[in-house]
Amino acid sequence: MTAMGGMLLHQIIAGLATGGIYASVALALVMIYQATHLVNFAQGELAMFATYICWSLLQAGVPYWAAFFITAAGAFVLGVLVERLIVRLVEDAPVLAVVIVFIGLLVIFNSLAGWIFGYAIQPFPSPFPAQPPFGNAYVSSHELGSIAITLVLLAMLFVFFRFTSLGLAMRAAAQNPQSSRLVGIRVGWMLALGWGLAGAIGAVAGMMIAPTVFLEPNMMSGILLYAFAAALLGGIDSPGGAVLGGFIVGVLENIVGALLGTELKLTVALVLIVGVLVIRPAGLFGKVHVTRV
């Protein structure tokens, strides 16, 4: 393989690895969006906070995978609590009020993390071996492992929403709350469950990206931006689109970074966001909404 081709292959695989992270966070955003029609700006900070929980557990000597699952479960509970205790209070409030609450949550979790865990940048371990698999130079074990975990997570979510009656009830509650009540679905709890799932997905994404970007209270701010670009690119109301958008943004970001310099990486996300909003606001797979007035 030529040096250029090898470099490109490496960038694509690395892009898929971070793309999986963007896909997960984008999916979490879409899940909340479908139920509330709002973007949860605090999603990234919830993930960061969960990653700190995992870090504390690891510091206390808990084995990695035990800490991983405890953190995912903890983030689920945290998501449910945030919905039940805070978001629920502004359920019927004007859009702007809810957006302010989301931004408030962002600031609160960011500051809480800094207060409790400090602002110093911490290394975060990967559960995967340091040696590259199959002795090649193109892909690291962590990249490959992180892609695998992302894919397993997405497959589990797909099966849950597609084939279980609880998943169906959650989709119904997001689409049509009133009709959902009329078939006996406890809509409030379905929304809380959605927040819980989004929290757990975000936590997994946080734990997978932390070895690469290192752990600190602001570690998710850039990632949330990429995830937002991914969700918009795929269509903010399309879970499958958000996932595909995540992988596209990840690969694109890495290739642009390699060819034009890493300074331009974040610009990719911003260009995508503006570009999608101008050219095709519904995204690649989103539905175009027509409203009769």
Binding site: L168, N176, S179, S180, L182, V183, G184
Partner: protein
Amino acid sequence: MSGAPLLEVRGLHAQYGATQVLHGIDFRVEHGGVTTLLGANGAGKTTTLRAVCGMLARTRGEITLDGRHIEALSTESIVRLGVAHVPDGRGTFAELSVDENLRLGAYTRRDKAQVAQDYERVFGYFPRLKERRRQQAGTLSGGEQQMLAVSRALMLRPRLLLLDEPSFGLAPLIVQEMFEILAGINKTEGMAMLLVEQNAALALRLAQQACLLETGRVVMAGTAAQVAGDEAVRRAYLGA
């Protein structure tokens, strides 16, 4: 609870914002019976159905189901007591498939074997839905969506079925069919119904009891035959 009606509504008041819509309504639905609420647009029929299943914030009065007070319960809890509602405007899940809509209708039921039988039962009533079971509900015609709304309610196997304009959007022939199906269900399964229907002649044929509402008050109540025989009703609602 023998003797007590399945549904009893006493002194029901309801308001939207500052506007009083119902001014103390009384009526009942007997076990296995059909009661119809008649009246012009704006008389408060739809509001009454909504109040019965807890969809309104501001109501006053007593609503009992089989002797149990339900006026303070949430819609979800009332549905779980066996009250299904085919709402005004159908309320199907437009982005979900026909199959998924029906599965949701049986969401609160745990008797899986019975549910499987009920699928076949509603597909028996409405074969058109079976042909379209994988299709998105939003892509169905208006009439098919109405069939789906009724079928979804039947999937609950309710003790009490609330029907808000089941003939809405249906072709005349299908309307006849729909009412024959409803009459059959009422007769063979003893499913009680509270029916709101523009087509008073049809409604009075299906119902045993009838109430005439005018601007939020019951102005006449009795057996369907008595109400159908009333001269004023005949002129205003039956076109005879």
